[in-house]
Symmetry: C2
Subunit: 234 residues, 2 copies
Amino acid sequence: MATENHNIFTSEIIDALSIDCTIFGFQESRLKVLLVKHAEGIIKNQWALPGGWVAYNEDIHVAAYRLLKDLTGVKELYLEQLKAFGEVDRYPKKRVITIAYYALTRPENYQLIPGFTASDARWFNIEDIANLPYDHGQILDFSWRRLKRKVKYAPIGFNLLPEKFTLLQLQELYEAILEIRLDKPNFRRKIMKMNLLVPCDEKQIGVSHRAANLYHFDMQVYDKLTEDGFIFEF
Amino acid sequence: MATENHNIFTSEIIDALSIDCTIFGFQESRLKVLLVKHAEGIIKNQWALPGGWVAYNEDIHVAAYRLLKDLTGVKELYLEQLKAFGEVDRYPKKRVITIAYYALTRPENYQLIPGFTASDARWFNIEDIANLPYDHGQILDFSWRRLKRKVKYAPIGFNLLPEKFTLLQLQELYEAILEIRLDKPNFRRKIMKMNLLVPCDEKQIGVSHRAANLYHFDMQVYDKLTEDGFIFEF
DNA sequence: GCAAAAGTGTTGGTTGTACACCCATGG
DNA sequence: CCATGGGTGTACAACCAACACTTTTGC
């Protein structure tokens, strides 16, 4: 892990430019965000969004991806840039403009690796997060707003669910993200009408109620549909 | 003009970081974009998006605003950041990450001032623009896509129209931005139902057909409505 | 009168919402 | 049997697209 980062620190990094990332997860029907506890520096022992620096000859998207991989060990996730935050005094003592990203991942699949700049890393319920340092609160708000909007016109939410999921899980995901309650019968009809979910020929097991059908999202079906002018609109 | 910029060039600028901006306008029922012809440098005599540098102690948003004001002389416009573009080789010889903005303005009200790094500045029909240098083509595409989306859920389009406008002008604006045709009767009903347009007690003059009522957009009405939970959805 | 755009009215189909209802499974 | 969530049906209201139609103005 330290080895993997070694060349970043010996090679030049871009001055005055950093990356910060809001990593979303979904567990126990709640929307979660991954925070790290800083091991040193100005905000030692404070929880904050994970972040890092960009190497001189590294795409910013690659840099963001590298940070996430080092932190979560996860290789497959959804990663999208939000925007740059560049107020003069957002970072103390030194001028640092940060490029904010957000990522969607499946918490259960991965072990968190705090890494050498963080002493701890943990998932928090998004509603419980308060008092983040710097402008991280602002970045988190912006991330959530973007997620709320984007989830309505692109099927990115699936990146937060396990491979195989039930319709209720999907519904609860939307409810958690959008902070609304949805009608079950209407939700399933709406979703099914999109033809994006492929039944798994498999059902829940060991549940004390009628076992639900499992579905998976098929990106190829989605691509095919979008090619033909299909528009996902939740 | 040179005076106004003088302190930018004597003061430190942030290395490896620039700003580029897509400025949209609307003239003769067409969606336009403002390009500048570079007076010097690698792309001398080529048309490109206007851009510039950020001073060490200047908010990036302020920097973007300053660039626009120097170029167009306009003080009131809609300005929003898109995102950072940071591929390693997007700019030749030197690593430069650029923060892209887009702006909406009313072309007729302002004189273009090319400024000292540009020998010319002109409005182009957006469909006619091709072969922009660097990744400016990509930035332009991204800008237009964002505009297309945003215009559907926020009333930003009004920034492209004169103070007072007719419903047909508004319709043609949406048609130009979205590249679609709209039904006039249905469009006017849809818009009017939002209660965002205030009639001006004034009509078109000198037109060879029935004079249309002029309307203006009232931001205060909009703020009031959004406070009460109103959602603009075109 | 004619052309051109301003506006109003109507109608039929689609969609969304609310809610009643039956089904399967474990305890 | 009950509780719990799975899953279907229905009916009313709201909305939307299409298009016919009348109005006003300049030439």
